[in-house]
Symmetry: C2
Subunit: 197 residues, 2 copies
């Protein structure tokens, strides 16, 4: 744990700090590999105390994944100003950065390596819905895509494509440059929506 | 079981027939809901005999999913003749038909509802690779897409998009006609590959 041990933290702050550590550990590990034992070791506190904060392994995993999903949503928020397509590009760039920095944990979440844990699946679905709904909130004038049920369906499908493409690219770029990837991700959104209309 | 009970079947044929029944039952059920008990009841034979054919529940599920994946690959094979884009449209049409007819089982496979079963996940990945590799085999002249590592990456991502789009559309078409969907699925493939090049 960072910070001076002499500073007495509230239980809430302590829990938050432990969650941050859990998210950091998840970046380079699958959820299966993220154990209470590992967190205890890295935090330098007892397993017993961790169970006090998180109840059991499932609750711990759920809390860490929820925090990771919140981080993803916050970090990919587009800037307040700019043209819609430019802001989408900024958002997509942040997404690629996030996947690169958190590859293992993100992959395990996407692949459902959570072992059929419904709570984890639900957090994943919520995060995905938040990310795709944002496209319409941020592009309220419909500059990139019109807000229709068909477009919403396609934006969701586009996000499945983007997720697969970025996960593959991070592992093996295959000659595709970062700029090509980013340009491809952002320009494919209006192109796909157009195709379905 | 269909056929006359007086015809003595070989154990192989019997197992094949049971697998076919398992695939039929999976069409309208998740993998979790497909139990040995249910198969025994539908087949009119004892659970003991089924364990003789399939070992345990996991082996049974694995065999059924493998058969279902083989069926999907066979049923979506494009015709031998015709223009590449036309043949792609035929293949995509068969895919939509398949997902409509086998919605529950296919969804449970995609969603990893198999509860983190690695064997099931592997069959799923193999089937997906077979379906995307076929694009390049069937379009050997590169009429729709050139055979480059980048294009292969995008075809894989396109298939993730197609899977999500079709699963959503079957549940709620949102005003998108079948023809629009099919046209969108096939024309988006060259469009996406073009975008990344």
């Amino acid at each position: 744990m960072t910070g001076s041990p002499r500073v007495r933290m509230s239980p809430e702050s302590r829990r938050e700090q432990l969650l941050d550590l859990g998210v950091t550990l998840l970046a380079t590990r699958s959820l299966e590999e993220l154990s209470i034992d590992l967190l205890a070791e890295e935090a330098g506190i007892s397993r017993g105390l961790l169970y006090h904060y998180f109840g059991n392994k499932h609750d711990f995993h759920e809390a860490v994944v929820r925090r990771a999903a919140d981080d993803l949503i916050a970090t990919t928020a587009p800037p307040a100003e700019g043209e819609p397509l430019e802001r989408l590009l900024v958002s997509v760039t942040a997404y690629v950065d996030y996947v690169e920095a958190n590859y293992e944990g993100y992959l395990s979440l996407v692949k459902g390596a959570a072992g059929g844990n419904d709570a984890i699946r639900e957090i994943y679905e919520e995060a995905r819905a938040a990310l795709t709904d944002r496209v319409f909130r941020e592009d309220a004038q419909g500059t990139i895509v019109p807000d229709t049920p068909a477009a919403r369906m396609m934006v969701r499908a586009w996000s499945a494509m983007a997720e697969d493409l970025v996960l593959t690219w991070v592992r093996r770029p295959e000659g595709v440059t970062r700029d090509q990837l980013l340009e491809g991700l952002s320009s494919s959104l209006p192109a796909l929506v157009e195709i379905l209309h």
